[in-house]
């Protein structure tokens, strides 16, 4: 499989633009989707945002200068699009309404033991209530294993800021779980 860089160069040289773009799309669509869905939870919203993100990538790929990794740029666009979408829809997930939380808890309840389910729901709830930036930093660090430099570029902060966001997120979630 061609590297991102090769695909982008060919795209920028107008060689099989659609084919090269589709290759990039196939390669990264899942990561983008999951990153978005972690923030908005709803599949329809995540699908819509993911489409907007890829349309934006199509429109801006000609101007991409390879100064950073393609995935960093891609996740940054996904992050910004998701934030815009959330602001537009006024669906600030860190201030979920009681009904939203109930739906969310029902949706996330698994077949584990009652105690595990309780902890699971608590964790889900705690993470959901984190500020968007902390939530994304936490997800990118803990689940995707990104380094702080990349996370900082994606969320538009410094490396120190990203580290602080991660630690604050973990502490907040811990505090929330302890209260249960």
């Amino acid at each position: 499989m061609s590297s991102d860089q090769e695909l982008i160069i060919q795209f920028q040289q107008s060689i099989n633009r659609e084919a090269n773009f589709t290759s990039l799309l196939h390669k990264h669509q899942q990561k983008v989707y999951y990153q978005i869905k972690r923030m908005v939870l709803d599949h329809a919203d995540a699908d819509d945002i993911a489409q907007l993100v890829w349309i934006k990538i199509w429109n801006k790929l000609d101007g991409f200068k390879m100064e950073s990794e393609f995935t960093t740029w891609l996740f940054r666009i996904a992050y910004n699009e998701t934030l815009n979408y959330i602001q537009k829809q006024q669906k600030q997930r860190n201030t979920l309404t009681n009904n939203d939380l109930l739906d969310y808890e029902n949706a996330t309840a698994s077949s584990d033991s009652p105690k595990s389910t309780e902890i699971q729901i608590g964790l889900d709830r705690a993470i959901s209530q984190l500020p968007e930036k902390q939530k994304v930093v936490f997800m990118l660090r803990y689940y995707d294993g990104f380094d702080y430099e990349k996370i900082a570029t994606i969320v538009g902060t410094t490396i120190g800021g990203a580290k602080a966001n991660y630690h604050q997120a973990v502490k907040k979630v811990e505090g929330f779980i302890k209260k249960l």
Partner: protein
């Protein structure tokens, strides 16, 4: 150089591992691994159809942009339309050219008319001019003489020289 990179990578990995361990000591590891937000399932076959969906949306967007551009042109004042601009330019040329020709013609006619209509008094003419006129238009002169004689109710044969001279003078006047 590559050793440095390897060390750097190891440091990064260690830090990530440390971060993970620290997180798992504070939060429930099992719950973290089962955290639904991190492994939210997409609908069946979603990723198979997604690229096609995106490409068709890009095509739609392109088409819409094209239509929008056309619509913008359509809603421009009619004189700004590219085709109409040519037509308007041609009309302006015709109007300006036509008016120029028309005005030029009427000026010429006016000049000509003023020459014809300018009153010429017989007193302004020299006797040489009158004689030249009579010579070249003898028949008209004869009619004039004849009509003058009729007016006087006389016949040329009965007239003496003085009378003829008098008629001549009248005619010249």
């Amino acid at each position: 150089m590559s050793q440095n990179n390897a060390m750097e990578q190891m440091n990064k990995d260690t830090t990530l591992e440390q971060d993970r361990q620290w997180t798992e000591t504070l939060l429930n590891k099992q719950s973290l691994s089962q955290f639904n937000l991190s492994k939210t399932d997409a609908p069946f076959n979603y990723f198979e159809s997604f690229p096609e969906k995106v490409m068709s949306r890009i095509e739609n967007e392109k088409r819409q942009q094209k239509e929008k551009r056309n619509a913008t042109l359509f809603f421009l004042p009619s004189f700004m339309q590219p085709l109409n601009r040519v037509a308007i330019a041609a009309a302006v040329i015709i109007i300006v050219g036509g008016s120029f020709i028309f005005l030029n013609n009427s000026v010429n006619k006016k000049n000509a008319a003023s020459i014809v209509a300018a009153p010429i008094s017989i007193q302004d003419l020299s006797s040489e001019e009158i004689e030249a006129y009579v010579d070249t238009n003898e028949w008209i002169a004869e009619i004039d003489v004849q009509s003058q004689m009729n007016k006087e109710n006389t016949r040329l044969s009965t007239l003496d020289e003085n009378q003829i001279e008098e008629i001549k003078n009248t005619l010249y006047k």
